[in-house]
């Protein structure tokens, strides 16, 4: 089960963290004209859009993972950093400390170059367009993605990190697919302070576990949440 642990963790981070971005991205299907109230939802486009986004995340993960693999001796500090990032994310979601905004501002520089490209794809009219747009919008400045990226980077291998980001992306899919009336209801629920605190607490726990694992405790633990370099290697063999 260990090899699935870090994927499950990434999935959970994506799911819990999307409470942060459901307001931001949950209604996006409507904004893109794929789910206008009173019209039939263009599920094909919605799926393509998500596929594009997940593709970008996976690519990001692969790049970050390659970086992590290159810095393999420094894996422990990397994992520590990832844990700290997750904790920062939790504080961000809870609205306690918004340090990650600075990272997002950094990401916004990159976005400045990508945004004009995306404007050309709007409004979305076909599935390939939605795919391209999703691919671009995966690079939106988002603290949640950066935390997940740090987590993926700490896996120490390109393919492992790519998979982790894919799992993270899958975790955010439910929020993206909530359209129309459902989106409003879901949003109303997850944006309640208590719910946000609960989700933030869960991510905080993930951060703590990551740090715990980095300090050499969790590598053979049977709780699936703690990531472990060995586990990643194992997973590697299973799937390649």
């Amino acid at each position: 089960m260990g090899d699935w642990g870090y994927l499950a963790a990434a999935l959970a981070i994506g799911f819990l963290g999307s409470s942060h971005c459901i307001g931001m991205c949950g209604g996006i299907a409507g904004a893109l004209g794929m789910a206008i109230p009173g019209q039939k939802t263009a599920w094909g486009q919605l799926v393509s859009y998500s596929a594009g986004r997940l593709g970008s995340y996976t690519l990001m993960g692969a790049l970050a993972g390659a970086l992590g693999a290159a810095a393999l001796p420094a894996l422990t500090p990397l994992r520590l950093a990832a844990g700290i990032m997750l904790i920062a994310m939790a504080l961000y979601i809870a609205g306690i400390w918004r340090g990650l905004v600075w990272l997002e501002k950094g990401g916004a520089y990159l976005w400045r170059y990508l945004q004009p490209l995306s404007a050309r794809l709007l409004p979305v009219q076909s599935a390939p367009q939605a795919l391209a747009l999703g691919g671009l919008w995966g690079w939106l400045p988002c603290g949640l993605v950066y935390s997940a990226l740090a987590f993926a980077l700490a896996q120490g291998s390109s393919s492992g990190a790519a998979l982790a980001m894919l799992a993270f992306g899958l975790g955010t899919v439910p929020a993206m697919f909530a359209t129309g009336a459902a989106a409003a209801r879901v949003r109303g629920f997850v944006q309640r302070p208590a719910v946000r605190l609960l989700f933030a607490g869960a991510i905080l726990l993930f951060g703590c576990w990551t740090i715990w694992g980095a300090l050499g405790h969790g590598s053979h633990g049977d709780h699936g949440s703690a990531p472990a370099a060995e586990a990643v290697e194992e997973h590697h063999h299973h799937h390649h």
Binding site: C21, G23, I28, L32, C142, A184, Q191
Partner: protein, 828 residues
């Protein structure tokens, strides 16, 4: 606590944050760079309308949730007066009519359900749904109910409503066709695969098969049949559910029940390795049913696309005069009192009164009269007519749904409502049969429960499968679909569901003159030479030379005579005629007073015989009269002869003067004709015929025919007819070949025979199979084969219609379709 909310995501904006995006002209606060980026991208993509229409506007999330929970908010945009104007018409006295397009209508039962359900709603007075156009006319009281509530009610019973605008109907048609094709494709592929496995299983059952192989084949069959049931057959389940919700048994109920139960039983049999599997029957049945419905739907859509409706005839914008400026405004925004500018060739967007200018206007759409009507200051003009030759300024007196054009359409719709709903009736009768089958299955189950409880389920299923009304429910539509397709290949597009049922009973065919018997192409009827020294030949040559450089419809009359003469200095006087030099001599051809003016003379008296008279004159005075007239269609004579040979009475009913009508009737070989009939008189004549027990097929074109077309037992419009008439007629003759008419009647007679053969077969089969199945003598696998075979027989029999040939094969008339008027008498 109550911090500013992020305009995009609704979360509180933290103090000290300074992210914002300009949306709709004002800076909106954003909570984070992410929201800022998304909102920026949305705005730069031109999609900021999203923020206006998104549900649950984030200003106060609680409110929005409460609203969306109640749903009407979704449709609230349709309550806005400017949006309503596009599809709602005010009748006055607290009554409005909304025209809606309803997606998901599959049969007459849907019509019944929608009319029943909406009719029960508070504030709804009358509902009329047309299954073939998928349009609903809902008469409601705006004080008691809003359009948005009507939308919500329709959605609540499972339909997808939209305002009936041209763009909406087109996109709906495309969506429906795509999904139908996908379903059909899945069912087709699945059926082929499962049939292959089934053959192996059949043989295995008789010759012994290895248990492992059998199990494997069954599992693969299950795998392939599952998408067929869950995806392809979904429309049947949805329709069955709807009809059940309306407490009504449609054919979809046992169809769904059989598919569902057979699938469930086969699934059970596969998993627990006991009993029979029916995957091939399920797939095949689904495929054939879908095929029939898809063909039927495509024909319906084709017809619908060709017609469009009134809204499409009107322009989208009008040139509004604002002080000294001309502004293009949407037609929907025109109100009484606006002044609009009409250039030559413009379609008039609203009813109005001419305040400046003088012009000829083509009102053929409204009156069927093809000659241009001269309009001067103070004359009335009507929406849908076309300005002919010079610029007009018009003050709007009625716009939108208040125009005469709309009034005529409503008249037509009322006429349509009077048609009997044979299809709905047939479906309701079928409901009783369905009930009987269900009762029989239950009875068989209960009886066998006493006799041998282990066999009860399988016997009941056998009953349901073997008597499954597939053959019955396919008998009529398969034949009709096949005949419809064949008619389409012959050039007759069927637009009304009842055409094939009524055609065989037709006893009399009534033609309307304009555009039905004639080709819509003018030619020279007669030349009267007034000047010594001129021959008719020379008159023709000179006229042809003058006309050679214009592309006016009337000019075509001369094209055959284009000789070696050539004209120079040609000048076209709009509304009057043409002036030019031939062999150094100045000549005029056109309206008598205009041509005579060249010699400063007054116009001579127009000859009294038929045709449209043009005067040729030079500087010395009138030279010759030329009479132009329309030609009979080449196919008219043969068509009339064939119709009469088939035992039908043929009649010509026309609004034109008697001389012209007599000439045409004589040329076409029609003995009975009536001239100078107004639309009211035509309708009265038609009703008189119908009261004497005669069934009448009306062949016509033009808007003035429409009440008559709708009132007739069956109606055919020519392709060259005004769009409106096409959409009301039961069929549209695409190639202009009238000989298709007798062939269509023959085909309809044959399809009636095929329908009765099919029904006889289906009833006979069921009558034989039902008792056997109830007695437990039919093993389920035999029931499945029997069912599949019985529907196959029905379909193959119906397919014979698509190879229908008539001894004299139709050769398309070479005339190009699409000339509406028989020559606009304008000189533009």
């Amino acid at each position: 606590m109550n911090a500013t909310a992020c305009y995009h995501c609704g979360l509180p904006v933290p103090a000290g944050s300074n992210h914002s995006v300009n949306i709709g002209g004002s800076e909106r606060p954003m909570c984070c760079p992410g929201c800022e980026a998304v909102a920026g991208a949305i705005v730069s993509g031109g999609l900021d309308n999203f923020y206006r229409y998104r549900d649950g506007n984030s200003e106060r999330p609680e409110d929005s949730i409460a609203q969306t929970a109640q749903e009407p908010d979704r449709w609230a945009v349709y309550d806005l007066p400017e949006v309503q104007r596009q599809f709602v018409c005010d009748l006055g006295e607290g009554q409005r009519v909304a025209a809606l397009l309803i997606g998901g209508i599959s049969c007459a039962a849907c019509v019944w359900l929608i009319e029943k359900h909406l009719g029960r709603c508070e504030g709804v007075d009358k509902v009329a749904v047309n299954a073939s156009t998928q349009r609903a006319q809902i008469c409601f009281d705006p004080a008691r109910v809003n359009p948005s509530q009507l939308f919500a009610e329709l959605e609540c019973i499972g339909y997808r409503p939209a305002p009936a605008t041209a763009a909406n109907s087109e996109s709906m048609i495309q969506r429906e066709q795509r999904s139908a094709l996908r379903r059909l494709g899945v069912a087709g592929l699945g059926t082929m695969q499962v049939m292959m496995f089934a053959v192996a299983l059949y043989f295995g059952a008789s010759s012994g098969i290895e248990a492992d192989l059998e199990r494997y084949l069954r599992w693969v069959s299950l795998l392939v049949a599952t998408p067929v049931v869950l995806y392809s057959a979904r429309p049947f389940f949805a329709a069955a559910l709807r009809s059940l919700r309306a407490r009504h048994l449609s054919m979809d109920v046992p169809v769904s029940l059989a598919i569902g139960l057979a699938y469930a039983a086969s699934f059970y049999a596969t998993v627990f390795e006991t009993g029979e599997v029916y995957f091939e029957s399920i797939s095949m049945f689904t495929f054939f049913l879908l095929l029939g419905r898809t063909i039927e739907m495509r024909a319906r859509h084709r017809a619908g696309l060709a017609s469009g409706g009134l809204a499409q005839l009107l322009p989208l914008t009008a040139a509004k005069i604002e002080g000294t400026e001309i502004q293009n405004v949407p037609v929907a925004a025109l109100v009484v009192g606006d002044r609009i500018l009409l250039k030559p060739g413009d379609t008039i967007a609203a009813d109005g009164e001419v305040i400046d200018g003088e012009s000829g206007v083509d009102e053929s759409l409204l009156s069927g009269e093809s000659a241009l009507q001269q309009k001067a200051v103070g004359s009335s003009v009507y929406a849908g007519s076309v300005n002919g030759d010079s610029t007009l300024k018009v003050r709007v007196t009625a716009a939108g749904q208040a125009t005469r054009l709309s009034a005529i359409e409503r008249l037509v719709e009322r006429a349509q409502l009077q048609k009997p709903r044979q299809v709905a009736l047939a479906d309701r009768v079928a409901g009783y049969f369905v009930g009987l089958v269900l009762l029989a299955a239950i009875a068989a189950f209960l009886a066998w429960w006493q006799i041998d409880s282990g066999r009860a389920f399988w016997v009941a299923l056998s009953v349901l499968v073997v008597t499954c009304p597939c053959a019955l429910s396919l008998a009529t539509p398969a034949a009709l679909a096949s005949a419809t397709l064949r008619l389409q290949q012959m050039g007759l597009l069927v637009a009304g569901g009842n055409l094939l049922e009524t055609l065989p009973r037709i006893g009399r065919v009534v033609f309307d003159k304009t555009g039905t018997l004639t080709r819509g192409e003018p030619r020279i009827l007669q030349i009267v030479v007034l000047r010594d020294g001129w021959s008719a030949q020379r008159v023709q040559d000179v006229a042809a030379a003058l006309e050679s450089q214009t592309n006016h419809p009337l000019a075509r009359a001369f094209s055959a005579w284009r000789g070696n003469l050539s004209a120079s200095e040609i000048k076209v006087y709009t509304g009057c005629g043409i002036e030019g030099s031939v062999d150094g001599e100045r000549l005029r051809l056109g309206r008598a007073d205009f041509a005579a003016q060249l010699a400063a003379q007054s116009a001579p008296e127009i000859p009294s015989s038929e045709g449209q008279w043009l005067l040729l004159a030079d500087s010395l005075g009138p030279v010759a009269w030329i009479a132009l007239g329309d030609r009979l269609r080449e196919s008219a004579q043969a068509a009339v002869a064939q119709l009469e040979a088939g035992g039908l009475e043929v009649e010509l009913l026309s609004g034109d003067q008697s001389a012209e009508v007599a000439r045409l009737a004589d040329a076409a070989g029609i003995a009975r004709f009536r001239a100078g009939a107004s639309p009211e008189q035509k309708l009265a004549h038609l009703q008189q015929l119908q009261q004497s027990g005669e069934r009448v097929l009306m062949v016509g074109d033009g808007l003035n025919d429409v009440p008559v077309l709708s009132g007739a037992d069956a109606s055919v419009a020519m392709m060259s007819a005004a769009d409106l008439a096409q959409s009301r007629a039961d069929a549209i003759l695409l190639n202009g070949d009238l000989r298709v008419l007798p062939q269509a009647i023959e085909l309809a007679r044959r399809s009636r025979r095929i329908v009765s053969q099919n029904l006889a077969w289906a009833l006979g089969y069921n009558a034989l199979a039902l008792p056997l199945a109830v007695c437990g003598l039919v093993p389920p696998w035999a029931a499945a084969i029997g069912m599949s075979l019985s529907s196959l027989v029905v379909v193959l029999n119906a397919l014979r219609l698509s190879r229908f040939r008539v001894a004299a094969s139709p050769t398309g008339e070479k005339s190009p379709a699409g000339q509406v008027s028989t020559g606009r008498e304008s000189w533009s």
